[in-house]
């Protein structure tokens, strides 16, 4: 075996495997995209629900909190008996993992809307739905978006572990690099994953700014 530096390894590996990297990146993006999509829809809905039904608040926030405390690798493992090995399991686990920041921020964002604003809205004859969509959600959007951004960044990192349950993605290279002792191969998975996280972070920050109502800036 030749004695290459880590950079030489990286160059050699990427020349050899760039096609696979592109494929894996696309799988990785899909894992993040679908798990986030479900998490956003369900997270925001649950977040709204617990502002309306206070009895559920502790249960839902507590439940999502418990998910977060389970080590990500273990959570992937727990999912195998339900969904088997592969992409479905990975998406399910990533989804559960992304849920807490979204629910929590939706709840906090709505709860933080000035009571005077909602009282005025009600007093002027807005229905509960009108108050939600015209007042509470628009005012909570910046906080909700911050939750989604946090969830997305965690999600990209955690998705590398999906390789351990055969779901593919950039984790494959990291896994392979570790077992074969080729550091360059680890970087081949880690660098695109990190870039992806940075891109998502930047993207959601822009969305956050863009969705913040003019009067709040």
């Amino acid at each position: 075996m030749k004695n290459l530096t880590i950079w030489e390894q990286l160059v050699e590996q990427s020349q050899m495997r760039w096609k696979e990297v592109l494929e894996a990146t696309s799988v990785h993006i899909q894992l993040v995209f679908f798990s986030m999509l479900i998490a956003i829809v369900l997270g925001i809905s649950l977040g709204i629900l617990i502002t309306r039904v206070p009895k559920l608040t502790t249960l839902v926030l507590g439940g999502a909190g418990v998910m977060q405390t389970i080590p990500s690798l273990a959570l992937l493992g727990f999912m195998i008996p339900i969904f088997g090995i592969g992409v479905k399991t990975a998406i399910a686990a990533l989804f559960l993992y992304s849920l807490l920041p979204i629910i929590r921020n939706t709840y906090a964002g709505i709860k933080d809307v000035d009571k005077a604003t909602t009282e005025a809205a009600k007093g002027m004859g807005m229905t509960s739905m009108q108050i939600l969509f015209k007042v509470e959600l628009p005012l909570a959007i910046p906080v909700i978006m911050a939750g989604i951004r946090t969830a997305a960044v965690i999600n990209v990192g955690t998705a590398t572990l999906a390789a351990f349950i055969g779901a593919g993605g950039l984790g494959d290279f990291i896994f392979l690099g570790i077992t074969r002792g080729i550091d360059g191969l680890i970087l081949l998975g880690a660098i695109p994953a990190a870039l992806l996280a940075i891109i998502l972070e930047t993207f959601f920050s822009a969305v956050e700014r863009w969705t913040t109502p003019e009067g709040l800036k």
Partner: protein, 376 residues
């Protein structure tokens, strides 16, 4: 217009916030609800648009039970202004005012025209303010928008929950004055909650005093001051209020009823003798029906004693007088213009009923003052 019949509010934990309240408000009336905190005044107001549902009794608007309306519809037909203002921070001023018209489905042209009209009405230039956001406005300007918003769909009734108590004293005074003139101009029925007695006396056509969920007295400011129906009412109003509010004290309370009068044909010598006997400084000249003609001062009499035959030649004509419906405040203002320091008080037929002098004004005010001091 608005009628409360045996209205009570009991919370789930058994707390009785409002206890069997009865009253009626006429159209165009400005009613102030006042009382210490926990008196049920705000709850009483909020039961009108069902922000707080009442638990027994009937509240009717124009003869119709307010429970028979859809709650949102009911609230859209009643203006609502709150202390914290509660403008939508993500809406421009224009959109904030347009909320209720929008809910009612007005077309955009009509809304636009109404918004401009209302901004003018509350003294904000639409060209400057329509497209601004609430945070760009001062507290006073925001509450002007709050009032405009409540007026937007032209409701007959407007509820105001301590709308000015978070503002600085100068802005508050200004907005109170503007609300009074708005009320005169628009003839809306206003229910106004406050804990500030000065504000209540200044604003209300009638004032309802509440304590521990009960309505103790509902009367005009004048009646409350002079005939408090309850020890608490008297205590709550405070006796010193009259000094601070001379406009609420009838002039007939401070005038002296013994007036030395004379017919105009009296000779100057006889007039002077009369003045000396009665130890006064001026004579009120009346005709044979006791109607006011003018005033003759002792000073002028002495000076012109030899030049005139009868006192009407040097009489100052009758321009300076007060009707018996006037207030102590009118007397104070007019006293400055009075050359002799005295103002005759007349009835509708211009017959003399009394006389206000600087001395009688001062003694009325000082007796109020000593009463207050003793009360402490």
């Amino acid at each position: 217009m608005l009628k409360f019949e045996n209205v009570s509010k009991v919370y789930g934990d058994g707390f009785q916030a409002v206890k069997s309240v009865n009253f009626e408000i006429q159209k165009g009336e400005f009613l102030v609800l006042i009382g210490p905190s926990g008196s049920g005044k705000t709850t009483t107001m909020k039961m009108i648009n069902r922000m707080e549902p009442h638990t027994s009794g009937t509240i009717s608007i124009d003869g119709k039970d307010n429970n028979s309306y859809n709650a949102s519809e009911l609230r859209r037909s009643i203006g609502y202004v709150i202390q914290q203002i509660g403008l939508f921070p993500h809406y421009t001023i224009e959109k904030n005012i347009a909320i209720v018209p929008q809910l009612k489905g007005w077309n955009s042209k009509r809304i636009k025209a109404r918004v401009n009209e209302l901004l003018d009405l509350v003294g904000l230039d639409p060209k400057i303010y329509a497209t601004r956001y609430p945070k760009e406005l001062s507290g006073g300007q925001q509450q002007r928008v709050g009032i405009a918003r409540a007026l937007a769909s032209n409701p007959d009734i407007i509820l105001m929950d301590e709308p000015f108590s978070a503002l600085d004293p100068i802005t508050r005074d200004q907005l109170q004055g503007e609300l009074i003139s708005l009320h005169k101009k628009l003839n809306k029925t206003i229910v106004f909650v406050t804990h500030d007695m000065d504000e209540a006396l200044k604003m209300g056509d009638r004032i309802a005093i509440m304590k521990d969920g009960k309505l103790l007295q509902l009367d005009t400011p004048e009646k409350l001051l002079h005939e408090p129906a309850h020890g608490f009412v008297e205590e709550f109003i405070g006796k010193h209020r009259i000094i601070q509010n001379p406009e609420l004290m009838p002039v007939t309370d401070i005038m002296s009823e013994t007036v030395v009068t004379s017919l105009p044909q009296r000779s100057p010598e006889k007039a002077l003798t009369l003045i000396r006997q009665r130890k006064i400084t001026s004579l009120i000249v009346v005709d044979d029906e006791n109607k006011l003609l003018g005033i003759v001062s002792a000073y002028d009499l002495i000076k012109k004693l030899d030049d005139i035959q009868t006192i009407d030649e040097i009489m100052l004509s009758d321009e300076l007088f007060l009707l018996n419906s006037a207030t102590a405040k009118d007397a104070i203002i007019m006293m400055d213009e009075s050359p002799y320091g005295m103002i005759p008080v007349v009835d509708a037929q211009k017959k003399i009923v009394g006389l206000v002098t600087r001395g009688s004004l001062l003694s009325a005010m000082s007796s109020q003052w000593t009463e207050t001091e003793e009360g402490k």
